[in-house]
């Protein structure tokens, strides 16, 4: 966190602290490689293209954000990485292995609060994937679960059922559940979108602290430019319908304390123009004709 806030002024000029540097090999080989991926949905009488020939790469410990207007296929892209949706073109590789089906090496945090099985307590919920995937025995799973729950400050609620928790607490459990699995990538599908503004801000802060602590790799989907700049270290900007790559922007220098700074504002404006430039042009053409 402190490393981030110190460098809030010029995002392009800083590097991460040396003690966190990874071996060269890990840095040069992407963890996740998405190349030329086209995703399509079949509805009753249409074949909808969600995104078209999207390329991006994700390296260890990056906080990579997929940003775009609704309907740009960013959630579909996340689902494809999760293995829930097969690309019609292109390939998704995780550590060089093609992604074909869902698996516990890519843990997903969903937007909806009903992602936690209501028949399990907070602790059982966090243990569930560890046991289901055979990653840990019961005793070890319990230890890992309690450690993860402590990380998201929910220790006092370990034996509570999800229906007794608030929305923000449920999302924290979902994050703890994903973290306890120590996945290669954490996939987050607008995890804070259903929260109120104050809770969302707090959760963003906690997520950044958690990342500073654990240095997990994260693929984060959002439609909020501000959230993307705060939470991410690098942003993939997608065009609307069908989603195509418009740009990749660095934003590792921003955190919640820099939201008012001129650099943050100009970065937000830059992305805003990228997202809406086409629309303005199209409107202009329409008005002239």
């Amino acid at each position: 966190m402190n490393a981030l806030s110190r460098a809030a002024i010029d995002p392009s000029a800083i590097a991460y602290p040396v003690d966190n540097a990874l071996p060269d090999a890990a840095l040069h080989r992407p963890l996740l490689d998405v190349s030329g991926v086209t995703l399509q949905y079949k509805t009753r009488d249409h074949l909808v293209t969600a995104c078209y020939r999207v390329d991006f790469q994700l390296f260890q410990a990056e906080r990579f954000v997929l940003l775009g207007p609704s309907g740009c296929g960013k959630s579909s892209l996340l689902k494809a990485v999760g293995g829930f949706l097969a690309p019609v073109e292109g390939a998704i590789r995780l550590n060089g292995q093609a992604v074909t089906q869902p698996g516990p090496d890519r843990m997903m945090v969903f937007q909806e609060f009903d992602q936690l099985p209501p028949w399990k307590t907070v602790k059982q919920n966090v243990m569930f994937p560890l046991l289901a995937s055979g990653k840990a025995k019961r005793r070890e799973a319990e230890e890992k679960a309690l450690a993860a729950i402590a990380k998201v400050n929910l220790s006092t609620f370990a034996d509570a059922y999800p229906h007794t928790l608030s929305g923000g607490m449920k999302q924290r459990v979902a994050i703890a559940r994903a973290m306890a699995m120590e996945p290669d990538i954490l996939l987050m599908d607008e995890p804070f979108a259903a929260l109120d503004a104050l809770t969302r801000r707090k959760m963003q802060e906690e997520l950044l602290q958690l990342w500073d602590d654990v240095r997990f790799t994260m693929l984060f989907v959002t439609h909020s430019i501000e959230e993307a700049l705060v939470v991410g270290s690098r942003i993939l900007v997608l065009s609307p319908h069908p989603g195509q790559v418009k740009a990749e922007v660095n934003c590792h220098g921003f955190d919640l304390s820099s939201t008012g700074s001129p650099a943050f504002q100009s970065a937000a404006r830059r992305i805003h123009t990228m997202l809406f430039a086409d629309e303005v042009e199209a409107d202009g053409v329409g008005a002239r004709s």
Partner: protein, 303 residues
């Protein structure tokens, strides 16, 4: 825009109100000690009124009182015995006519048929959620067999399996399987997409996925199916024993009712009916209520 504002200001002499600008203030918050107890314990009377069993027992007592009064007013023990006579006959039947062992005969056949039907229903619905042809199979079979009364199958069952427990079990399975499968399937299809994806995310597949995610998530609907199935089974069994019980060797409750009607022991007929009702009440209010309290209610899935 301008047109609108002119229309609104049709009476220019009336000034439009502007909200006042009032001073800001900040205030400290009183400690809870000054406010007093935030939570107040309920009075003994309120606590007593919250006991469901007590309220229902009271209701039962009222029904029994009405029955007793009506029977006394009728004054015809051969047609309509009183509550006290029925209770005495029930006690007598338990002591001398082996009513308990007869009830056990009925119950053991019932439980066997019920268990087989539950296993079959789970298997059938698992097939239905995992393959499209399984789905077709289940919906075709349920629409065919669900409306078919179980009793109507009994003559055929006796032809196939002879006169005995096997025929009764067959009919019971038929009575329970279809409503349970229908409810379970409806429950499975209503499981939220997020929960399904979360389960698959853990790497769960096939039977483990059904067992660890779908069944608990669909449990409110499955429980309803189990209750409906239980009622169907109990009804079917008693009816089957009433009609064909003579031939099943050891008689059950239905046979007890039938036999006593033939000998015009009306109070014992009432006692038999009362024991059918009592067992039904016990299962509904103790067994199913316990399951409900420890599952769907504890999980906050139903209120």
């Amino acid at each position: 825009m301008t047109d609108l504002s002119i229309a609104r200001d049709s009476r220019p002499d009336v000034p439009r109100p502007t909200p006042p600008i009032r001073p800001e203030y900040e205030r400290g918050v009183a400690a809870t000690g000054a406010i007093g107890d935030v939570a107040r314990p309920l009075s003994p009377w309120e606590k007593l009124a919250n006991v469901t069993a007590l309220r229902r027992a009271l209701l039962l007592a009222v029904v029994a009182a009405v029955w007793q009064a009506a029977a006394l007013w009728q004054d015809n023990p051969l047609m309509f015995p009183t509550v006290s006579a029925t209770a005495a006959a029930l006690w007598d039947a338990v002591l001398r006519d082996n009513l308990l062992s007869m009830a056990w005969v009925s119950l053991s056949i019932l439980l066997k048929g019920y268990a087989i039907a539950v296993v079959l229903a789970i298997g059938l619905t698992t097939l239905a959620v995992s393959t499209r042809i399984g789905d077709d199979l289940l919906s075709t079979l349920t629409s065919m067999f669900n409306p078919l009364p179980a009793i109507a199958l009994l003559p055929l069952a006796m032809l196939w399996f002879g006169l005995g427990a096997v025929s009764l079990t067959f009919v019971l399975v038929h009575a329970v399987l279809w409503p349970l499968a229908l409810n379970t399937h409806a429950g499975f299809t209503a499981v939220s997409e997020t929960l399904r994806m979360a389960g698959r995310n853990y790497g769960l597949r096939g039977p483990r996925y059904v067992l660890a995610v779908l069944i608990p998530a669909a449990f409110p609907a499955i429980l309803t199916g189990l209750k409906v199935g239980w009622a169907f089974a109990w009804r079917t069994l008693i009816a089957a024993e009433l009609v064909f019980g003579v031939s099943s060797g050891k008689g059950g409750l239905g046979w007890f009712i039938f036999q006593n009607r033939n000998e015009l022991y009306t109070d014992k007929v009432f006692a038999g009916l009362a024991s059918v009702i009592l067992i039904g009440l016990l299962v509904e209010n103790v067994v199913f209520r316990w399951i409900e309290a420890h599952t769907v209610r504890a999980w906050g899935m139903v209120r």
